[in-house]
Each structure stands twice: as structure tokens, then as C-alpha cells.
Amino acid sequence: MTSSFPEEVLEHVLSFLTSQTDRNAVSLVCKTWYETDRWCRNRIFVGNCYAVNPRILIRRFPDVKSIELKGKPHFADFNLVPEGWGGYVYPWVVELARAYPSLEEIRLKRMVVTDESLEMVAKSFNNFKVLVLSSCEGFSTDGLAAIAANCRNLRVLDLRECEVEDLSGHWLSHFPDSFTSLESLNMACLVSEVSFSALERLVARSPNLKTLKLNRTVPLEKLSTLLKRAPQLVDFGTGAYSAEFRPDVYSSLAGVFSACKNLKSLSGFWDVTPAYLPVINNVCSQLTSLNLSYATTQSPDLTKIVSQCCNLQRLVVLDYIEDTGLNTVSLSCKDLRELVVFPSDPFIGDVDVQLTEHGLVAVSEGCSKLHSILYFCRQMSNSALIQISKNCPNLTCFRLCIIEPRAPDYQTLEPLDTGFGSIVQNCQHLTRLSMSGLLTDRVFEYIGTYAKNLDMLSIAFAGDSDLGLHYVLSGCDRLRKLEIRDCPFGDKALLANASKLERMRSLWMSSCLVSFGACKLLGRKMPGLNVEVIDERENVNSIPEYAPVEKVYIYRTVSGQRFDAPDFVRIMGKDKDAVYNLS
């Protein structure tokens, strides 16, 4: 059949498949399909930068226009991965520059990016268009200046929650006057003040600018000047949103907001002065996305705003919104798909904020399209979880963080096993789950039995024994990412399910009971896995083999062990001198 099917036709058909999962599946059908896919696939996604290496990538895919790389494991966001662990992009950039001079897009997440790397990107790719750095670190504003100065066709410069060494705001002035192709600029995570006139001129000469996210240093009084230059904006992030109330500033701002007929998404609002919030009243009904998670103001102010957002699909807010505010959301935002509620004071046990499980239940009742939840709160009950699971059978992502570790059902003092059990039973499309509260091995039995579509699971302070881990590893057929902290899981379940680990992207276990010996054994027996023991203790060489490691990060790889690891990271069970060249 394949011989009567011209390659050009196959190539054309495959070009409609954009999802990485689909392209990967296609490449496994037969040799011809593999070859066709590799010649025409030009968007590459590497979920773990150590699972493969640039050489292997370049050999397989000769023509790449867009690449996405992820480095550190997710728990790095919470300070659990020590500084210096790895995730360096430089070696990739060197090879990409050599192999793909017409590369247009680079997206990086949790990687260490240096100014050198940015300079190389700026100088090596003539048609470079998109740079997205998410939770990256290691670079300074000098690197940004190089990008601004050299990338003549840049469309997107998006810095999301990066740790940037902010030397000065001067980098923005490096965009030449002839540069007019900007479509998206996100500088919210930068600290230094940029030249306002340079910013204004940049905005004025960028007719295609759709996304603009300012940093805190751009004052409220200057917002109208910018927005007047860009009424076509779709996604806008304010700077610090505080100023003494002045009617002229207020009406000017309200006026320019009203003129933004395409505005769909708002964010920013640091240090908000509530009196200035109503300037957005006229655009509220246009909004599909609203991020008020830096708006430290009380529930009435927040509620007034959300009550007008009848088309809202995504809401990110602080717990200041309280149950009453969420009740309003449930009545006003009937199109809501995603809800995120962050804690205003995460490190204090008792706060004055009336945000409980009731708010979440209300939203689950009123918003039938809700599919993604991230919720921080201080109390939860099994009955609330059961209700939520029944109200939202289409949940794909459920992340619940009860602030106090091992907190039981506050009404019955029982574990929350049945509540989470109900979630996985009723929500058959669930792909991501994060649990908290008091949980026994039983919840893992539910998860192993019912959560057949689960892709990512995060567990903390839960379980009683290895049985818990065994249920998950043996039951969750689609599980690819598992991250565990402070659970009594040891060697037995891990070793018994070793082959499962090769069908997953990665497993993280910290403050558990996995021993050095087990890690060594796993590393030796499974050449397709890197078993990284991350242990910073001084006497680590004299710790016996049966003692538990601090942290272990296990991931599948075709690249063999890595050689850029610091001394507190040991790749277990691999002969240091042998290179497992599986290519």
C-alpha cells in the first residue's frame, strides 16, 4: 500500500498533524512513515533536555524551525532542586546554530540560560522570530540587549517568571528604530525601569503588537499614553497599579481602555489602588482571561470586577476573593474553564481570609465548563470533594493544596481518601492531579484503579507504605510524570516496577525511603534510565547503602549518562568511563 502512496501526498497529510504525540505515533507506523516524518517535521518538543542530545536530534531531523526544551524537574519551582543541578542550554544552542541557521523559534522552560547563549542566538539565526523563556535563570539584561539589537525579525520576546540579573533597563533601547515586527513583549518579571520614551516609541512603531506585559516600574499614570498607541492590544499586563486618585487620570485611563476593542486578557495590577479598578469596567465583558493574583485588595473590590466578566474563561486570583467572591464567579462567569486561587499568606497557619472549600464547590456548581483547577485553601472535606467530582466530570486538571500538611477532613477528621477517590472515579478525563491533606494507601488504590488517563501526579506527605507507590506505578497506564515528596515509599515498589519507569518521562522522589543500594541497582539494571541521586550531605560517601537518599530523580534517556552534573549529583550504577551510546 505504501508503494502506491506518493511521498508528497503523505507529507501533505502529515503536515496537518501538529501535535507531538501524533507525530511520534506516526513515526512508529513503518519505515516510510518514519522517514517522511523526520524530513518534514520542523517543530520539535523535548520534554527533558537530558533524555536526548543535540547530536541525536540533528541526525534525525534535518530541518527544524521551532524547538521547545525543558530542563529542571517541576519541583525546582519550590526550591527542591539545588542550585547547579544542570539544565544548561548553551551546548544545545551551539549545535543548533551549526545545524539550523534558519531556526526561528526557541522556547525554554526551567533551563539555565546565559548571556553567552542569548548572544549566540542573536547572532546565529537570521530569521529568528520567537524567544520564550519560562522560569529560566542565569542571564542578565545584557543578553536581552543582544537579542534586541540583532534579531531584526523578532516577533515574540516573552519572559515568564524568570530570574534575570537586572543590570539596567537600557536593553529595551537596543531595538533599532527600523524594528517594527514586534507582536508580543512580556517583561513583567524584570525589575529595572526601562526608558519610557523608548518603550512608547517601540509600541508606536509596532502595528502588529498584540501582547504587552509591563513590569512594575511603569507607573499607572503613564498607562494611557501607552494604550493610546496600541488600541489593537489583545493581551495587556499593567505595571504597578497604584497611585493617588485623580479624576483626570481615572477618566483618561477609562477612555483608553474603552478604545481597546480587541482586548481579551488582562494581568498585572501590582499593589492595586482599588479606586482605579473600575477603569476596566467597560472591557470586562470582553475578557476571556483575567489575572488578579497580584491585586492585593479585598473581596468587595475583586468581586465587583469579576461580576462583570460574563465571558471569562480563565481566572487567576488571590484568596482575598473569599467564598463570597467565588460565589459571584459561579453566578456571573458561566463560561469559566480554568480557576486558579493563590494564597495571599502561604506561610502563616491562620489568616483572616474567608476562603474555604465552599468557594470551590460553588464554582464547580455554577460553571459547568470548568476543567482546570488550582486551589490553595486551609480546610477541605470529603463531601466537598465528592460534590466537586460530581459537578465537574470533565475535569482534566485538579490541583488542590491544603496548606497544612496531612490535614484531615476538617468535619470528620478522617483521611481525604474517599474525596480524592471520587475525583478520579468521576473525572475520567483527568490528566493531571496534585493531592494534599491526610491520605492513606487507600487513595493510591483508587488512583491505580480509576485514573487511567492520568499523565502527571504530584504527591506530598501521603501514604503509609510501599503499597501506595505500587498501586500508582502498576495501575496508571498513561502516567508519564510522577513527583513525590515526604512519603514513606521505599525500595520495594520502585524495584518491582522498574520497567514502568522506562515508559515514563521521569520520577522524582525526595525525603522518602529509597536507599542508595536500590538506586545503584536500578541504575545498573536499567541502561535506558538515568538514576540521579541528589544528595548534599557532607558525609555522603560514608552513608551505608541501606540508608535513604535525600532526593532521587529518575528519567528515561537515549543519551546515556550526562557529564555536566555537579558533585552532589551521582548518576548511579553506570560505569563513569563507559558511554552508553545507544544511538
Partner: protein, 154 residues
């Protein structure tokens, strides 16, 4: 699940005065502090933690009928807090009084902490103070005999 039910409580080592039961109180403040000592918990990403939050506390002064509010997050330390209080109430010298326990100032500053106790401002590190201070009070020094805050007895 542990030995609580077996009457072994009296054998548990405790920090505290003998006879001071304070089981409930200790647990409560333990609970409040516990969340702070676990690395990476709650799972709020570091970027979000850096956000400074306004910490407004009420300030009352002996003899002044109206309370004021001061934003502790605006001050980087006790000296700046002192300056802010001087601006609000004219209690000159209170900043130095916090740092040095000097008797040159007519006033002293005390604060109510999260446990409900009244403490002298200036004893603990600034960061700890901003987290535990619920409200401030500026007292005339001559009224504070009973608190035992003087270095030398009159």
C-alpha cells in the same frame, strides 16, 4: 496514632516552665510556625513569593484619640519605622529608643504579637517582627513601670 492515648504525656520533654500546661497553646503556635519550616511547602513558586505585600498595622498612642495605620512593608527596619511613627505622632526619638533602649525618649513602642502578648519593639529581627506584629502602641515611658523595661530601677 502515637503514644498520646497511653498517659505518656507527662514523660514528653517540653520546652517551657514546669507546671505550664499550655498544651493547646503550644500546639497552636507550633502549627502556625510549622508551615514555615518545611522547605518548598506550600508549593508556591519562588517568583510569587517575592511579591511584597502591604502590611498595615494600627498604631495607637497614649493621649491621642485617633488611631493611625502604618505600612510595615514600606519600612526596611526599625529606624525607618521609628521615622514613620515620628511623622505620624511627633514622638521624637522613638526610633533610637527601639535600637538602643536609651532613656532619652519620652516614649516607648510596644506591639501585640500573634499570640496576644505585648512585647517591646526592637528585640527580634525585623523580618520576624513584621510577621508577628498585629498592632503597635506608643506609650509614655512614665506609665510603663510595671512592664520592667527600665534598665535601672527608679
Amino acid at each position: 496514632m502515637g503514644p498520646q492515648g497511653l498517659g505518656l504525656e507527662i514523660t514528653e520533654l517540653r520546652l517551657g516552665l514546669p507546671g505550664a500546661g499550655g498544651g493547646g497553646g503550644d500546639e497552636r503556635s507550633e502549627k502556625k510556625r510549622n508551615v514555615n519550616t518545611v522547605v518548598g511547602w506550600p508549593p508556591v513558586c519562588l517568583y510569587r513569593q517575592k511579591v511584597e505585600r502591604k502590611v498595615y498595622v494600627k498604631v495607637s498612642m497614649d493621649g491621642a484619640p485617633i488611631l493611625r495605620k502604618v505600612d510595615l512593608s514600606c519600612c526596611k527596619g526599625y529606624l525607618e519605622l521609628g521615622m514613620a511613627l515620628e511623622k505620624l505622632f511627633g514622638c521624637y526619638g522613638i526610633g533610637e529608643a527601639m535600637n538602643e533602649e536609651s532613656e532619652s525618649c519620652e516614649y516607648i513602642a510596644i506591639y501585640e504579637d500573634k499570640d496576644g502578648d505585648w512585647m517591646l519593639v526592637g528585640d527580634v529581627p525585623w523580618a520576624m517582627f513584621t510577621e508577628t506584629c498585629k498592632r503597635l502602641r506608643i506609650k509614655r515611658r512614665s506609665y510603663s513601670n510595671g512592664i520592667g523595661l527600665h534598665r535601672t530601677n527608679n
